[in-house]
Symmetry: C2
Subunit: 417 residues, 2 copies
């Protein structure tokens, strides 16, 4: 079937479909590189294991006839030719690096599903109008080098290449040196203008799709995020000889803030609020706590929601009845994906007969950076028990297959325009 046929053939049921077994085999094959004890993967960015999976990916793409370009931060762009090479490429992808003791799917699925689309194009001799580029972004995870989403950040201009090269891991190794060591400091100057759109397939890393037995998440954006540090200062005192009425217990005040954060999130759906870190001083059973530090993470899909939540948090801290200080230490604005790309994803899931629901991503993704420079959207498939960053992370073969099918269908739909 030719690209010409695609443009004129309205019965999508007749378009080629990706091969779920082949995709699963690729997932199993790449999980060898950095295989961890409990079925997961430890493949930190720019390590020997990362080099192995990159080499495997580059070889697989070249075998299909792709042109492979590597830019200065090690992002890999494998481009399959289209009918009209003057058109900007449709781009898909994600990342092949993992967390320590991470899973086999986070990031990996998006790259390998792109590869599966290439395999399908090749196998069926399908020619798209646009070139199709499958990208592997460098260092999405950020567990060896901070910040996370580094490769997409450099590509989108959020971080300069020189600044990124100078960043170091715990052993003092720079990103630049690590790129050289594995041979992935490329020289290609890939311009964002070369691309028409970006679609990233990813596991949900949350429980919503599984809980609602929904096959596909149509991702409309990424939650905004604000991080706060709170210091509560009370008065350290003897737990035996200090009457209740004369206490200034920092932990009691902190407990009220913990419950307030939960309540604020509940009152601002679909926002979430978490106190994940607590440090009590002096932290001794028989001493009334004199100080507590809390670290708070609040997220909401809209700036207005984030403002509302932050205001309520300020009020809760004021009311907590101890000397408490609130500092916002970091924020990320919400990302709203391009409606036309989101529609293409939704239409594709429907055309394939899969149940789908609009969702907002709770976690950050390379797509957040790429959305700043081109029309972008994401596709989610379910995560068992919502688990991720964990060796037990799991998405079933048929769920991965559906994701790849929707990705391909979306590419076909975008290719029509």
């Amino acid at each position: 079937m030719s690209a010409e046929a695609l443009r004129t053939e309205p019965k999508r049921i007749n378009t080629p479909v990706t091969n779920g077994d082949r995709l699963w085999n690729d997932i199993v094959a790449t999980a060898r590189f950095g295989a961890a004890d409990k079925g997961g993967v430890t493949r930190l960015t720019l390590t020997e294991e990362d080099r192995e999976v990159r080499d495997w990916f580059v070889a697989a793409c070249r075998a299909l006839g792709c042109t492979v370009e590597i830019d200065g931060i090690g992002n890999i762009f494998a481009t399959y030719p289209g009918e009209d090479m003057s058109l900007p490429a449709i781009t898909v992808g994600s990342h092949l690096d993992t967390q320590p003791q991470g899973g086999r799917f986070d990031g990996i699925l998006g790259v390998l599903a792109g590869l599966e689309v290439l395999r399908t194009l090749k196998e069926t001799s399908t020619v798209l109008r646009h070139p199709l580029t499958v990208v592997n972004w460098t260092n999405e995870e950020g567990s060896r080098f901070s910040p996370a989403m580094m490769g997409s950040g450099v590509f989108a201009g959020a971080l300069s290449l020189d600044a990124a090269h100078a960043l170091t891991d715990r052993d003092g190794v720079t990103v630049g040196a690590a790129l050289d060591t594995i041979g992935y400091r490329g020289e290609a100057r890939v311009a964002p203008a070369a691309f028409a759109a970006y679609v990233e397939l990813h596991i949900e890393q949350g429980p919503l799709l599984e809980a609602s037995a929904t096959e596909i998440g149509v991702v409309t954006g990424i939650q905004g995020l604000r991080w706060f540090d709170i210091t509560v200062t009370g008065t350290e005192a003897h737990a035996g000889s200090t009457p209740m009425a004369q206490r200034d217990d920092a932990l009691v005040a902190a407990a009220e803030i913990v419950l307030a954060v939960r309540n604020i999130a509940r009152e601002n759906p679909p926002g979430v609020g978490t106190v994940g870190f607590v440090d009590v001083g002096p932290n001794s059973r028989n001493v009334v706590p004199g100080s507590v530090r809390l670290q708070i993470d609040m997220r909401h899909p809209s700036e207005a929601g984030l403002d509302q939540m932050e205001g309520a948090l300020q009020e809760a801290v004021r009311k907590a009845g101890a000397r408490a200080e609130l500092k916002r230490i970091w924020s990320k604005a919400p990302v709203v994906f391009d409606p036309s790309i989101v529609d293409a994803v939704r239409n594709s899931a429907e055309a394939l007969g899969y149940s789908a629901t609009d969702v907002v991503s709770g976690a950050g993704h390379d797509a957040a950076h790429i959305a700043t420079i081109m029309p972008t959207a994401m596709i989610f498939v379910p995560s068992k028990d919502g688990l991720s960053h964990n060796e037990a992370e799991y998405t079933a073969p048929e769920e991965c297959a559906r994701g790849a099918e929707v990705l391909f269908q979306t590419i076909l739909e975008l290719d029509r325009h």
Copy 2:
């Protein structure tokens, strides 16, 4: 004035009084041994600094004509003769060891006030009917060797001498070896039957007397205590992608328990309840906590009160909405002092015209052990800001002086019977 005169003279105002300046000088003098940077004292039990203060105390008592006996755990008994040496001795005292960066008063005041009584007896040629013994108990603080209140515990039979000798500090040094090193493993066999009563003057280590501008605390007993460990198990989850309704947040449940402990104590006066220790897992800002460990200290003057508080805690843990496990790991029964000795303290404070109020000790003291083998009571004087176990611990010279006067008056009253 002779002991005979005391028995026949009802005007107590004419009895000799202790010398507050001389007592203060002794407090200043002994604070040299282990002087810390900020005006406090670091004099851990059975160290060189402890040897120095013991030598100083023994020399001072011998200079007054006392017989000094040292038992197998290093307790020092300095006995001043009475008119009738066949009578059991009236006993007063406390401890000369301190916490690391501790204060100049905790324990020390009780021993030095006893010494001041001896100085007053000598100076005024007063002869009591009973012998008077001033005791320095070994290792009340328990910060080098656990358990605390070791010397009084061995004396009262709560701990065997052999078991105590075998206990080690962090460096593996045994109590027995430490006693030998400083030359205070004695051979005296001092029988509890040799004593008629025990009175311990101590700083309050709490804020009640200062807050109510009361000069003397008539201590009617020592609170009972129960220690609990609670483990709350939730489900670790991604802080961004886990909706509020699907969370099983161990910290939110733990925060409810923290507030419940505060409420339970308030509802059971004069009980106190403290969560002093919190350990959150994994304790990372953007991970919903999967586990929290809490350490709880609850105290009440009565067993019935403790039972009530423990029952309410069980109920609160049951309600906390996560898988929570409660374990009672230690308890100490309340101590109720002998009413006749408590009356003697109260009468003495009144006779001297000092404001006094009945109080229950929140902290443990050597008197808790001694109360199990002879009629016992305690006298409290105010602690500035309720502070103790702290270099800033402070009780003013006139407050110390009043305590010593009440101690002496109590001895005189007990001596009449």
